[in-house]
Symmetry: C2
């Protein structure tokens, strides 16, 4: 069911400093910051040859990553995103197996404009998993 690892998301306390680290110290290809007001984050994409790292920084009052940064002031790996072909089929398989889908259980349009779901980290070894239909 799951396909490619679309991205690894890292919440960071200082987006400019983190971008500079990946560009100058780690020598990666780092994009410009993109505000995603509907998702409460500003995102910087780091393009690797086989996948992406996404640096996440809170945007606005109700950012979904503010609580994570409050608990992890240095930042940390926030979630993994796996690609699926059919998000509804994936959701049905997961819920039939007893895995919990966060929120209403219905896919939402994610930061990349594609349908996504998030799975409860307690059901998956403390790992927040995003599934994205590609």
């Amino acid at each position: 069911m799951i396909g490619r690892l679309n991205h690894v998301a890292i919440a960071v306390p200082d987006l400019k400093a983190a971008s500079a680290q990946y560009e100058q110290i780690l020598g990666a290809k780092v994009g410009a910051p993109q505000d995603e007001p509907d998702h409460g984050v500003t995102v910087v994409f780091i393009e690797l040859p086989n996948t992406k790292v996404e640096l996440l920084y809170p945007l606005g009052e109700d950012s979904p990553i503010q609580g994570f940064l409050d608990k992890n002031p240095s930042g940390g790996i926030h979630h993994l995103c796996f690609e699926v072909e059919d998000i509804h089929a994936a959701r049905d398989r997961l819920t039939a197996e007893g895995a919990r889908v966060l929120g209403s259980g219905e896919p939402k349009i994610g930061a990349h404009g594609k349908p996504v779901l998030f799975l409860h980290p307690k059901d998956f070894n403390g790992t927040l998993i995003e599934l994205e239909q590609v």
Copy 2:
């Protein structure tokens, strides 16, 4: 400098249960457990089309991931591994920029039989980064 994301490592409290989840619920290609006594871990590789997830479980008395599981009993994402062409050149660049290499600072032979280094997570947004020469 950094190339492909070689793997994402997830420390898990129950290797059999985690393997079954990835195989049966997430429908991924999951390998057999491999003991790595020199590294204090038992590893299960999950092959994705573009990279790997490695499930890590403690092996022996001095496993480097036991402390992580003590702090995170449900498990969690433990580290990211990026590929580099020349581990010594990478080390020199990192230390010149003030980043801290864990341990002696000399590359060691990692679980895949290749030279690796780990970078201090406090220097990289709370993310433990492994560099592996490929």
